[in-house]
Amino acid sequence: MYYFDHSATTPVHSDVLDLMHSIQKDVYGNPSSVHSQGRKARLLIETARKQVAKAIGTIPNQIIFTSGGTEANNQVFWSLLNQNNIHVVSDTIEHPAILKVLSEMETHGIDYDLVTVNKNGRISIADIESEIQENTGLISIMLANNEMGTIQPIKEIVALAHENNILVHSDAVQCMGKMPVDVNDLGVDYLSLSAHKFYGPKGIGILYFKNKDSLSSLMIGGGQEKGLRAGTENIASIAGMGLAAELVTNQLDHHIKELASFEAHFKSELKTIFPNAIFNGDANNKLPGLVCVSFPGYRSDILMAKLDRANLAVSSGSACGSGNVKPSRVLSEMGVDDETNISTLRFSFGASNTSEQVDLLLFELKTILTD
C-alpha cells in the first residue's frame, strides 16, 4: 500500500517506535513516585517537554501534554466558562473539534461569531475586526486548514487581537513538519498540536499556553501537569512525541523541500493527464505537499474506491460514513459548488513517500481518468 493521506495521520517514525518500545518495556515507574523508576519516568517526560518546547520556540514551562489536538482545543474553550469575556471569534472552516465545541458551549452561555473565508480559504483581518465585541475574550483561528492547506494570517490576527486585549488560540495540528511553528514568532497565546500528524504516536498532543492563569483543567485528579491535566502520564507516547517533534523540526527544511517537489511534480503531471483539474486552496499561502484537487465530471467516492482497490490511500473532504456522501463543508464555505465539491480528492504527501510512488499514483489516476 502506498500512502498519500498524511494529513489524516502519519506512520510513526522508526526511531520513535524503537524509543517507545524500550520505554514500555523498561520504564514502568509512575512519574509521581520518588524512587528510581519514578525518576526515570519523570526524566523522560521532562526531556520530551524540552524537545517539544524547543521545536515550537518556547520554554518547557509553557506546555502541557494532552490526549491530542481535540483535548487541547477543548481545554482552551471550556476554560472560558470561568472568565468574564465570554465572546469568541472563530471561522467557518475550523475542525469540528472547534466548531462543535463552540456550539455545545453556547448552551453554557458562551457566545461566538464565525468569520467566512474567501474562495481560496483565507480569512480577512477586516472580517475578524468587525466581529470583535466588547466582551470578546478569545479569537481562535487554525494555522492551516486540513482540507486544502491554506495558511491563515495568524501574526496579523494576533496583532489585532492584542491591541484589543484579546487572547489568540491556534489549532496548528496540520502544520508541524510542513512549516515553521514558532509560538513566539506567531505571537499566539495558545496553540494545539497532535503527535500523530508529525510521525509520532496517536493519542498524545500538547497545549501550549503563554500564561497558565487563564486555563482550567478538564481532568480533575492527581494534579499532574501543573494541575492542568490530571491522570498518570502516558510516558511512552509523551517521549515518542518529544522525539518526533525533534526529528521533524531538525529536518524541517528538507521536509518542506521534498513535499514541495512532490507537489509540484504531481500538479504539473496531473494537469497533463487531466487538464480540467481544479486545485483548491491558496497557492501563495499553503502547506506544501497537501493537494486538494477537484475532478469535474467524476465522483470522489468512486475515484477513492478505485484508488483503494489499486492499494493507494487518499481521502476526500466529503463526509461519507453511513451513506452520507455530502459535500465538504470547508469547500462549500469557499464557494465551491456541490457538483465540483463531491468530485474533490485530497492527496497529502509525506516522509513515507518517494517520487516513484508519486509517479505510480499518477499512473493509476491516468488509468482511472481515461478509462
Binding site: 467516492d301 474506491a305 483503494d308 482497490r309 461519507c320 460514513g321 453511513s322 451513506g323 456522501v325
Partner: protein, 357 residues
C-alpha cells in the same frame, strides 16, 4: 474470479451472502446503501452502517457507502404516496428493487468496476437455453422472488444471490460461526422506511386524512373511519366497529373502498362472499424472460405471503393482463402485485387494478 459488490444492509442475510462470496474466492467489496435521509429510532442508518462495517471488518473486505435518498424519494416514495392517495395498497419494496437496487445501485457498482453485484435475497437464478430464470429461494418461508419479479434478463445476469439455496436458520448459524455481531439481529419487517412506527402517524405526515363513515355492503352505517388510505382490503384489525351492529357474530372485514363517497365498505365474517374474488386485471406487466408464458402449470400469488394458486390468463397484451383463478382468492388488493410462477420459476408479474367475480 470476478469483482463483486455486495449490497450490505447491516442485516444477517447480506452479511452471510458476502461471506459466501469471500469463501469462494471472489474479490468482494461491501456497498452500504442509504435510501432514506431521516435517522430516527425507527430507521437507524447509522446503526445499520456500523453493523455492516463490523461484518466487513471481520471478513477483511472494504465497505463503501452510497446515498440514493434522492432517487428513492423521487421514484419510489412519490409513487407510494400517489398509490395511497388513490386508495390503493402499494408495495414500495418491489419498486425499490427495480428502480434502486437493480438500477442505481447496479450502475454505481459497475462504475466502481464491479463485474456483478450480489444481494442477500432468498432467490436463485439459473441459465436455461440462453436465458436466465429467477427461481424461488430454497427456504419456502423466506422466498423473496415476489419482490424481484420486475427484474429483466440483464439485471438478473448482473447479480448473484449467494443465500438463495440456504435456509434462514442455517444463515444465522453461519453468521454466528463467522463472528458477526448481528447473527441474531431481528429481521426487518414491513416497509423499510416506516419500520416499527405507527403507520397512520407516518402517512399523516404526507397525506391529509379525510375521515368518513364505515358502511355495510347494504349501506348501513356501522362506524367511522379515519381516512380510506389507512385501510386495506381484507383488513380486520383496527376498524373500531363496536357491538350492536350486524348479527353479533364474526369479525368485521374491509370489503371495498368507495373513493367517490369516501366510504369504507365492510362485511362480517372471514367467509363473507365480498372478500373472495376469482378474477383480476393488472397493469405494468413484466415478464422476466421477455415473453408471456402459456397457461400450463400457471400459478399466481396476489400478495407476498399468499399461496401460489392455479390460474389462467384470460386476456393479455403488452402491458395488461386479466386472469381467472381456479378457486376464489381472499382479499385481492389493488396496488399489490400479482406474481406468476411455474413451479419454482418466477415468471413475472403486474400491479393489480381490480378484482371481481
Amino acid at each position: 474470479m470476478g469483482h463483486i459488490a455486495v449490497g450490505m444492509s447491516g442485516g444477517v442475510d447480506s452479511a452471510v451472502a458476502a461471506s459466501i462470496l469471500v469463501e469462494k474466492g471472489y474479490d468482494v467489496e461491501g456497498l452500504f446503501m442509504k435510501n432514506w435521509e431521516e435517522d430516527s429510532e425507527y430507521c437507524n442508518a447509522e446503526e445499520d452502517y456500523k453493523d455492516a462495517l463490523q461484518v466487513c471488518d471481520t471478513l477483511g473486505i472494504p465497505l463503501r457507502s452510497v446515498n440514493f435518498a434522492k432517487e428513492y424519494w423521487e421514484r419510489v416514495f412519490q409513487n407510494f404516496l400517489d398509490e395511497y392517495r388513490s386508495g390503493r395498497t402499494p408495495n414500495p419494496d418491489i419498486l425499490c428493487n427495480t428502480e434502486i437496487k437493480f438500477k442505481e445501485f447496479l450502475h454505481y457498482a459497475q462504475d466502481l468496476g464491479a463485474d456483478k453485484i450480489a444481494t442477500g435475497h432468498y432467490v436463485r437464478s439459473k441459465e436455461v437455453a440462453g436465458k436466465v430464470q429467477l427461481l424461488k429461494g430454497l427456504d419456502p418461508g423466506k422466498d423473496q422472488s415476489y419482490f424481484l419479479y420486475g427484474l429483466n434478463q440483464e439485471q438478473i445476469c448482473s447479480a448473484l444471490f449467494p443465500i438463495g439455496d440456504l435456509e434462514k436458520p442455517n444463515v444465522r448459524d453461519r453468521a454466528e460461526k463467522l463472528g458477526f455481531d448481528i447473527f441474531d439481529k431481528k429481521d426487518s419487517t414491513g416497509i423499510c422506511f416506516i419500520g416499527e412506527r405507527d403507520f397512520k402517524e407516518f402517512l399523516q405526515q404526507y397525506i391529509p386524512a379525510q375521515p368518513g363513515i364505515i358502511v355495510t355492503s347494504s349501506g348501513t352505517k356501522v362506524g367511522d373511519h379515519d381516512g380510506l388510505m389507512y385501510y386495506t382490503l381484507g383488513q380486520r384489525k383496527g376498524l373500531g366497529i363496536g357491538g350492536g351492529h350486524g348479527d353479533g357474530e364474526g369479525a368485521w372485514y374491509v370489503l371495498d373502498k368507495d373513493l367517490e363517497n369516501n366510504e369504507l365498505i365492510v362485511g362480517q365474517g372471514h367467509d363473507h362472499a365480498g372478500l373472495y374474488q376469482k378474477r383480476l386485471t393488472a397493469s405494468d406487466l413484466h415478464w422476466i424472460s421477455g415473453e408471456a408464458p402459456n397457461n400450463e402449470n400457471l400459478k399466481a400469488k396476489i400478495r407476498y405471503r399468499a399461496q401460489d394458486a392455479i390460474c389462467r390468463i384470460t386476456e393479455l397484451n403488452n402491458t395488461e393482463i386479466s386472469i381467472e383463478f381456479e378457486e376464489p382468492r381472499f382479499a385481492i388488493a389493488p396496488g399489490q402485485s400479482v406474481v406468476f410462477y411455474s413451479e419454482n420459476i418466477c415468471l413475472g408479474g403486474a400491479i393489480i387494478d381490480k378484482a371481481f367475480n
